[in-house]
Amino acid sequence: MDFDLMLNSFPKLLNATLVTLKLLSLSLIIGLFLGFCFAILRLSKNIFINRFAYGYSYLFRGTPLLVQIFIIYFGLGQIEFLRSSALWVILKEPYWCAIIAFSLNTGAYTSEIIRSALQTIKLGFIEAGKSLGLSNKIIFFKIQIPIAIRQSLPAYGNEIILMLKGTSLASTVTLMDLTGVAKYIISTTFKPVEVFVVAGSIYLFLTFLIHNLIKFLEKKYSY
């Protein structure tokens, strides 16, 4: 064990953790929004809208995240029309490509989580709202959504942790996130175990934090 290397690499890896956290939080926010929209589309009675939302989640859950990033980062640049459009400012940056891929990916998983939470709400709650004379809108926002949030918290916590691990793929499109920097240090020093221990501990610490945050929220919102 080379403790000097571990001490020296720690600040570098900690700096890279900021990139990881930025990627994670931005894609989670966009993904949550996407997931919410697609969950509602999934519940729609129109078969086309329904199928579209199902296709989206099937496509993104059935293929590896790595393929999705590569399609967006390497593939989209090939389309002449995109290259000349204003979108190119965003799509030429690996950072934004990674965020788009992560958001779409976590959006697909989140939509499934929210959909199943919305579907498992007991009919009695909705009927109670109706018999109180509440409008559909109020029933949705004041009864269904709060219950669904509580219901989906454990599964969403898992999704956050999966996404934290997913951000490591940003290193494949030249981003220097925690895994990217770890790989760089490994390939320059050839000390994989030491770097793995430090980088792995940072990841584990983040997982631990997320796990406890979700536990706290679960307790807070339990009824």
Binding site: P64, L66, V67, I71, S168, V193
Partner: protein, 230 residues
């Protein structure tokens, strides 16, 4: 379409063999994972605190650290570790491990952590009476496990194992960073030499979808088989 033709002019045969490679790595990794699960599930369920801690740290660490990082550890550290073990036995030559073994081992250890959790959950949800009944009947330990616990456990574990299989299948795409020519690596090569990344990566996505779709069909059949009588 000519890009996908078989033979020297197209990438069809290359991609076909790459798909077989992906399947081979996934299956090997899944089997290695089962072996790990067979070792760690008893440790997890044991009453010994120390053994519990070992098994728990295995599943927690592996499930909390990105797959890519684990693969880098094996890729850069694998041959070093093997050489170290070999040097204890007096063998000091350079040993290079091939990418297939490193990759399947790395993915196998990851899928083993998930399988361990699945088996633990399945065994724990078997009714206590089943354990007591086979004790009362005086069944020997191996028979008790093979004839009483295993069939019931499999029924409960199959839906979750199919999730593990999906995760494993998708994780194999990460081995491409070590240079093993599976779907992802082959698409990368093809995309590089034809300058048509959009087509090849989309095709790779399609291949993965096909693999997950077909394996789901197969697993559903298994599920029905193990669910008869329930």
């Amino acid at each position: 379409m000519s890009l996908l033709s078989f033979g020297n002019s197209g990438w069809g045969d290359e991609l076909f063999f790459a798909t077989l490679m992906t399947l081979a790595v996934s299956l090997t990794a899944m089997i290695i994972g089962f072996i790990f699960a067979l070792i760690f599930t008893p440790l997890k369920l044991s009453k010994n605190k120390f053994l519990n801690i070992i098994a728990n740290s295995y599943t927690t660490v592996i499930r909390g650290v990105p797959e890519l990082l684990v693969i880098y550890l094996f890729f850069f550290g694998g041959s070093g570790a093997v050489m170290f073990v070999a040097s204890i036995f007096g063998y000091n030559e350079y040993i290079e491990i091939n990418a297939f073994i490193t990759g399947s081992f790395a993915i196998g250890i990851i899928s083993g952590a998930y399988s361990t959790e699945v088996f633990r959950g399945a065994i724990q949800s078997i009714d206590k009476g089943q354990f007591e009944a086979s004790q009362v009947l005086g069944l020997k330990k191996p028979i008790h496990f093979l004839k009483v616990i295993l069939p019931q456990m499999l029924r409960l574990a199959i839906p979750n194992l199919s999730n593990v299989w999906q995760i494993t299948l998708k994780d194999t795409s990460l081995i491409s960073v070590t240079g093993l020519v599976e779907i992802m690596r082959q698409s990368y090569i093809a995309a590089g030499s034809t300058r048509d990344p959009l087509f090849f990566y989309s095709f790779a996505a399609l291949l993965y979808l096909l693999l997950t779709f077909l394996s789901m069909k197969l697993i559903n059949k298994l599920e029905i088989k193990y669910n008869r009588g329930f």
